[in-house]
């Protein structure tokens, strides 16, 4: 029984027939991949005219942010400095500190 099975297995050959649409299916998949890959580029190309606008907007936004941050920092520092100077002008303890002088 086992000898006949061994003989059968030794002599058995599988010969699948060619799939008739194999090549077409592979090429279809390649083309689909290429189409998917080129989609964002196509979108970018179709909106190419907006790129200078986006660049301009980025620069303007950056300038606006710089001005806003500059104003905020300056305002905060000025308030802090002036509040300290004002406090020194009305507080005799601060006024008579190490570098204190009497009122003019």
């Amino acid at each position: 029984m086992s000898d006949s099975l061994s003989t059968l297995l030794r002599t058995w050959r599988h010969q699948p027939s060619d799939a008739p649409d194999f090549n077409a299916a592979v090429w279809a998949r390649i083309r689909a991949q290429e189409r998917a890959a080129s989609m964002p580029l196509a979108v970018v190309r179709s909106f190419r005219w907006t790129l200078p606008l986006a660049a301009g907007f980025t620069v303007i936004a950056s300038v606006a942010f710089g001005v806003g941050a500059g104003l905020a920092v300056s305002r905060s520092q000025t308030a802090d400095r002036m509040a300290a100077a004002y406090a020194r002008s009305i507080d005799p303890i601060l006024m008579s500190g190490s570098d204190a002088r009497l009122h003019p």
Partner: protein
């Protein structure tokens, strides 16, 4: 890609330059004195500014006197430390007098700040006390300044 990087670099430089120029312009237009700053910072009306200026003028001699007394007490303490030492009774008495004087000055400054704040709108008064109160020496932080 190269264009995008260049664009971002230009935006970054423009942002930094505008920050620097704004800071420079703001520094050159800083308030001339404390009263000008008060007017601007706390949006004082002419009446409020006038009343606060009068209050400051009235407080100035008090402040001057306190300042002179503190300097005098400090000199006395330093002299006693040199002659009698820190453990002497005279030094302890002078130190106690100094503590009392400091308390008097703090109370006086506090009263002045609250009087000034009372002349402002409630919101600005609160802001004034927060901003200036934190700069004033030795006020009890456990007892924040408040509007009367």
């Amino acid at each position: 890609m190269k264009t995008a990087t260049l664009c971002l670099a230009i935006a970054l430089v423009a942002g930094l330059a505008s920050f620097g120029v704004t800071r420079w312009l703001a520094a050159s237009s800083a308030p001339a004195d404390e009263m000008a700053w008060l007017r601007k910072e706390f949006a004082l009306t002419a009446e409020q500014a006038g009343a606060i200026e009068r209050l400051h003028e009235a407080y100035r001699p008090v402040c001057t006197e306190h300042c002179a007394r503190i300097l005098e007490a400090r000199e006395r303490l330093a002299a006693l430390e040199r002659t009698d030492g820190r453990d002497s009774a005279a030094y302890a008495a002078a130190a106690a007098a100094m503590t009392q004087l400091t308390r008097t000055c703090t109370e006086s400054t506090r009263a002045h700040l609250e009087a000034v704040a009372a002349l402002m709108s409630p919101e600005q008064g609160r802001r004034y006390l927060e901003l200036v109160g934190s700069k004033v020496a030795q006020h009890g932080h456990a007892e924040p300044f408040g509007l009367r």
